[in-house]
């Protein structure tokens, strides 16, 4: 009996230190010919004194009149995607963490399975944290449903794509109010990378786009995060350099300000600038010879053209404790986010809105 009571107390003590958080979020994206509605739920919680689990589920509803979604001549079409994922991390001695993650995404014409392992080590009294992730996704693409329904007249195809990601990062505490991060991601994509519905026009008749089966992508991102105590302001500056062997070079500077305006109320502002060069095989117009030659890459993908994007956004985050709510709900928070996106390409400008409700808990 004593042993049972001791074990129960020990369990209760360990459980009392366990924390978790559940978040429900809705995101909305609208541009000229596409809108996206994405409800999602995220949960994270401690699984004992050394384990931590994160999980999410989302529904991605994309309504578009673009031919790239398999629609017939501008008709609006809604595609629904479901995604579930999880990430488990376990603490080892000497500030080492190891873990694994998995994600599965399914829609009518695209199925993706992602598996990854990751590790982390803290050095020099955890002033420096090194992180390494190795993952691979197995994707299957088909246009069978659109063909069978008569939406498109091209032959049925089943394609595959494998993507390997190696990511390494270092996070460095620089001063008591300044932290820096440097991340390098290398992705190797091998397989079908065109859009299975998109065609290139300009010849005697449209042909399916043709892009290389191999793509190697490098991205290096650096960020600095500073806290200014007198004004309760957090400043974030970030920059990403990207290059791949399709000829795209991109620069992405970003600045964010998080201002605590009152106890439990944060305002955030964000500006992001993005510019890229075009892929070396991208052309606005292809000649008849290029289109009819199966050895020549041809694409109508706007993402492979040269363009710039600017994003300006603002957030309001309010804790329920601000309104006098106590107990479990005191630290629950509501987040509202609006973003305006200017894109000087065929996609056109866009609006993004998000609303979230998050409840932290201990058990």
């Amino acid at each position: 009996m004593r042993a049972f009571v001791a074990a129960a107390l020990l369990l209760a003590t360990s459980l009392a230190h366990a924390d978790g958080e559940v978040s429900v979020r809705g995101a909305y994206y609208k541009e000229r010919s596409t809108r996206v509605e994405q409800p999602m739920i995220d949960a994270e919680f401690d699984t004992g004194p050394k384990g931590h689990l994160e999980a999410h589920f989302l529904v991605d509803s994309i309504t578009s009149a673009s031919a790239a979604t398999g629609t017939a001549n501008g008709q609006e079409f809604t595609e629904t995607r479901y995604e579930v994922g999880g990430d488990y991390t376990y603490d080892l001695p000497r500030y080492i963490k190891v873990g694994g993650q998995a994600k599965y995404s399914t829609e009518s014409d695209y199925f993706s399975t992602w598996l990854a392992a990751h590790g982390e080590i803290g050095l020099w009294e955890q002033n420096t944290t090194l992180h390494l992730l190795l993952g691979h996704s197995f994707d299957e693409i088909t246009n069978g449903i659109a063909v069978n329904s008569g939406a498109i007249g091209t032959p049925a195809r089943d394609e595959h794509l494998g993507t390997t990601l190696v990511s390494t990062s270092v996070t460095q505490l620089l001063t008591p109010d300044l932290v820096g991060n440097l991340t390098y991601d290398f992705s190797n994509l091998d397989g079908y990378q065109a859009n299975i519905y998109r065609v290139v026009r300009g010849g005697a008749q449209p042909v399916p786009e043709r892009v290389p089966d191999l793509r190697r992508r490098h991205a290096i991102a650096a960020s600095l995060r500073a806290y200014i105590r007198p004004s309760r302001t957090t400043l974030v500056g970030a920059y990403r350099f990207y290059v791949d062997d399709w000829g795209i070079v991109a620069h992405t500077p970003e600045a964010r300000v998080i201002q605590n305006v009152w106890r439990g109320i944060d305002l955030r502002a964000r500006f992001r600038y993005y510019t890229q060069t075009q892929a070396n095989f991208y052309q606005d117009v292809y000649s008849q010879d290029q289109i009819s030659n199966p050895d020549v890459f041809v694409t109508a993908d706007t993402k492979l053209s040269a363009f710039q994007t600017e994003i300006l956004g603002g957030d309001l985050v309010v804790s329920l404790g601000t309104f006098g709510v106590g107990g479990t709900w005191k630290d629950a928070r509501i987040e509202l986010n609006v973003e305006r996106i200017w894109q000087n390409n065929a996609f056109g400008d866009a609006w993004v809105g998000e609303a979230a409700f998050t409840v932290p808990f201990s058990y």
Binding site: R25, A27, V36, M40, D42, E54, H56, D60, I62, E79, E83, K103, D109, Y110, S112, W114, L123, W124, Q126, N127, T128, L130, H131, G135, S137, D139, T163, L165, S167, V170, Q172, L173, L174, P176, V179, L182, D185, S187, I196, R217, H218, A219, I220, T234, Y242, V243, D244, A250, D266, R268, Y274, Q276, D301, K303, T309, E335, Q343, F347, E354, A356
Partner: protein, 72 residues
């Protein structure tokens, strides 16, 4: 390969420099603030990466998987 060596050198240099500066645990009150750890929730970050990945030729730099859908 030269580019890769250069990137790895930068990471190695940053790591080495890290050994020189020490912020003691009791000096990390501000570093532990929510906005200093991450000012984006997981769902927000995932949606943003997904939306940008479907509209831009570049991707990566976040340490998270990209793609995985037919929205290209």
């Amino acid at each position: 390969m030269t580019r890769l060596k250069c990137l790895l050198s930068v990471v190695a240099l940053a790591t080495t420099l890290g050994g020189c500066a020490v912020v003691k645990p009791w000096q990390r009150e501000d570093l532990a603030r929510r906005a200093m750890v991450s000012d984006q929730d997981a769902g927000d970050a995932r949606f943003q990466q997904h939306a940008r990945g479907a509209r831009e030729g570049a991707d990566g730099g976040s340490g998270h998987a990209a793609g995985g859908c037919g929205c290209n």
